[in-house]
Amino acid sequence: MHGSHETGSPYAPHTDDGRTAMLEAVGVETAADLFDIPAAVAFDDEFGIDARTERETRRLVRSVLERNDELTELLGRGHYGYYIPSLVDHLADRSEFLTSYTQYQPEVSQGFLQALFEYQSLLVELTGLEIANCSMYDAATALGEAATLADRVRDTSGHRVLVPDILREGRRSTLENYVAGTDLEVETYPTADGNADLEALEEIVDEETVMIYAENPTIRGTIEENLSAIGESAADAEALFVLGSDPVALSVLQRPADVGADVVIGDASVLGLPTSYGMGLGLFACRDDYLRQVPGRLVGASEDATDRRAFTLTLQTREQHIRRERATSNICTNQAWVALRTAMHAATLGPTGMVELANRGVRRADEVAQRLDDLEGVTAAVHDRHHLREFVAHVDQPAQEVADALEERGFAVHVVGEHELQLCVAGVTDEQLDAFVTAVSEVVR
């Protein structure tokens, strides 16, 4: 009755005969007899959710999602529509990858473990740090975990966590929740056009500081030019220097290890996922000093009984299922499959492709900023800073009006100030950019 299935779960294979035999073996009349639920708390109503055929369900979801407008997104700020090679979907969707559980039985999970090991290796190369875990949820939660790591490993009795004053709300707020159970307090340091105000920062840092967080590129798409100095400040205060970045940026920007970063966090799914309403992949790498304190799962190489190389989850004594309330994090289910996709996407690009993708982000941001700057009513201050992928433009009109008008023309942009728009070129085609520049010229005219 599966083909024309009308009631019951379409994913339960029970035949009438099978069910009867099973009930007999168990010694009950119906499955309902197996439920040991006191009448007072039993549910005898309905949810009121209609069952649908597979086709109807697909139509339902499609019809709901079609209410989303088709817009060319120039939004950026951590989420980019980089083209994902078809290979990634086809291979990552193989059900062995998609449907397997966490690799608690490594002997039948070697393929996933190896892919995660390769993901870790990718991040080790990108960051220059010795350890990368095999994922956190997203950049915000990775930042939170970095702070609790700082709390665990701090040498001082301090409590100050310094973050840039323009840290995006979701990260800041998530961080606050993660440190709510500690003595840490989140404070901000000033920035200018995204970049740290180094002097002000150096003044703020003191021995109470346990962690300094900076981003490169910054949320405004600028390249942070004082990373080494920030790193030194942190080192001087014996605070952790936590750097936020992403795999594409890390392909060309200064290697975190070279500027004194102790931890790198970020959203690694800029490779591997389309823009997915904020779904991400928390990148988390750190120095090997923190080996026993790092949150999240780690895949390590080992040997099997025949002395061949084999992979396994390792150092699990840090984790909640063993260490319970003394675990380094409460994380269990993470973003393994996204990490697989990110590793695949990076592998299809190769180092040449990754560098080129980042470089295109520099060149095209420059180019588009220049074209906008040429328009009456727009000033794209692109020459004072270096940019990757995105930049802020000043518009004479109220920015929200411009953004609304652009949205009507099919383009989504950020309003980041009364007269400031932020614009991102990554993932957008040349044709779309041409159309965008035209649209801006019409709107600001």
């Binding site: 099978g18 709901v64 209410r67 904020g278 560098v355």
Partner: protein, 477 residues
């Protein structure tokens, strides 16, 4: 068969690097339009072609046991079949939206979220639901933070204890600790349930919450749940429901009706979104009306007039974000599709068959199952055998073993949850594997597995000499 690492496949092309890396192969310089002092010098990663990568990942996939490979009876993990069509709907181009889009341009996304919130509320008997938590543990964290905010708001910020039964999931303890709470551990009674006297002793004016799974990890329904709820509420505490075992109850009982104040749902368990080798999942949280103002921001709701049908808003006393944006959106789409496909009847049927399957499988095993009546899962005891060895040996019979050595209340625990997706024939095959192993001696078990791609893997060596990247391997070898 062994598959080389990507870095090993590309022996002649390992490096994109500076000139110095020349001896290792062709070095690719990192040239950039940016000034040199802002850029790195080299990038050493494998450079492989599409056919090579297709073969690499195909081969890796072949070294993984997935739900389409056979039975996967991991207790508390609810390894259901993942309907293929849910992948299709999550892959719709219209689902790919940036998190910072304007509300009016993503009415479809907001509608789907609102409808899923509604579905989950009905299923759990909860008044309000947030979809933001990206996993079960994150859902627990929301619960704990909401409880904290609630108590704080009521001037009861002094409450610093969370009570958790000994047999609970490890995440409960870790989450309470992450939230800054002291954990008060609660022993089980002889029947495997919460010991009411012990609970009485544990409860106090310092109790922030009791975290409970029901059915518990032994598969037993906490029959005293009404009394438990009353006791917790009497001291001003909140009752938290860990949704990991919700697949036992669909359409039969709802946490909200049992007196729970806050709960999470594991959509990657109960609602069949794929586990993905360890995520992404999603851990929506439902609460009773009083707790709604504390839920994470932003939330989705139907708009009251205006030019949009659905809108985002910040609850009055929100705890703020627990994720950068709105959690694992693509996973939530799949959960919505699954629920919409099954409907009332399908969901209730899934639970009924999950419970039948667990009971039938247990009835066929030679291993002892000390606690009953269990629901969707049971915990057998390997007795004199080592449960971990039993699991390794089961691999040799071509099936996936159960969760082992936990909960500790059962010696050498084999925690088994077949779910509703297995037929009698598959359960018989699984039982045969259990029973074959039950007859085998220690030497065989300790050598197991011997029919898998990799043989028994040395965990000690992995931990003592951590090699966490191919760079570490190169240094090492």
């Amino acid at each position: 068969q062994y598959e080389p690492l990507l870095s090993e496949k590309d022996l002649t092309r390992v490096a994109i690097g500076d000139a110095d890396a020349g001896e290792e192969g062709e070095a690719t310089r990192v040239d950039s339009p940016l000034p040199d002092d802002l850029t790195r010098d080299s990038l050493e990663l494998p450079e492989l072609s599409e056919p090579e990568l297709a073969r690499h990942y195909t081969r890796l996939s072949q070294m993984i046991y997935g739900i389409d490979s056979g039975p996967y009876p991991l207790g508390s993990c609810t390894m259901k079949y993942n309907p293929k069509f849910t992948e299709d709907v999550a892959a719709l181009p219209s689902a790919a939206v940036h998190p910072d889009r304007s509300e009016r341009s993503i009415q479809g996304t907001l509608e789907l979220l609102a409808r899923l919130q509604d579905y989950l509320g009905r299923i759990g008997g909860m008044d309000a639901v947030t979809l933001q938590p990206p996993a079960g543990a994150a859902g627990e964290f929301v619960g704990i933070r909401v409880a904290a905010a609630y108590h704080e708001h009521n001037g009861e910020g002094h409450r610093d204890e969370v009570i958790i039964p000994e047999s609970a999931h490890g995440t409960n303890f870790a989450t309470a600790a992450l939230g800054g709470y002291d954990v008060v551990s609660l022993p089980s009674n002889e029947e495997g349930r919460v010991e009411l006297e012990a609970l009485e002793a544990a409860l106090s004016e310092n109790t922030a919450a009791l975290m409970l799974t029901n059915p518990n990890t032994l598969g037993l329904f906490e029959r005293d749940i009404e009394e438990i709820a009353e006791m917790v509420h009497d001291v001003g505490g909140l009752l938290y429901y860990d949704g990991a075992n919700l697949n036992a109850l669909l359409g039969r009982a709802r946490p909200g009706d049992m007196g729970f104040d806050v709960m999470h749902y594991n959509v990657h368990k109960t609602f069949a979104t794929p586990h993905g080798g360890g995520g992404p999942g999603a851990g929506p949280v439902g609460v009773v009306e009083d707790l709604e103002p504390f839920l994470p921001a932003p939330r989705v709701r139907e708009a009251n007039g205006g030019d949009v049908d659905y809108e985002l808003f910040d609850p009055d006393h929100t705890i703020g974000h627990v994720h950068g944006y709105q959690g694992n959106w693509l996973v939530l789409i799949k959960a919505f599709a699954y629920i919409a496909r099954l409907g009332d009847d399908g969901l209730a049927d899934a639970s009924a068959k999950a419970v039948l399957n667990a009971n039938y499988l247990a009835s066929q095993l030679e291993y002892d199952v000390p606690y009953e009546p269990f629901h969707h899962e049971f915990v057998a005891s390997a007795g004199e055998q080592d449960a971990a060895d039993v699991a390794k040996r089961m691999l040799d019979y071509g099936v996936h073993p159960p969760t082992t050595k936990w909960p500790e209340i059962v010696p050498e625990a084999l925690m088994t949850e077949p779910t509703e997706i297995e037929s009698k024939e598959t359960l018989d095959r699984l039982a045969a594997a259990f029973n074959a192993v039950a007859e085998e001696g220690d030497e065989v078990l300790e050598d197991a597995p011997d029919r898998t791609t990799a043989r028994r893997i040395d965990q000690t060596s992995a931990a003592r000499n951590p090699r966490l990247s191919w760079q570490a391997l190169t240094d090492d070898e």
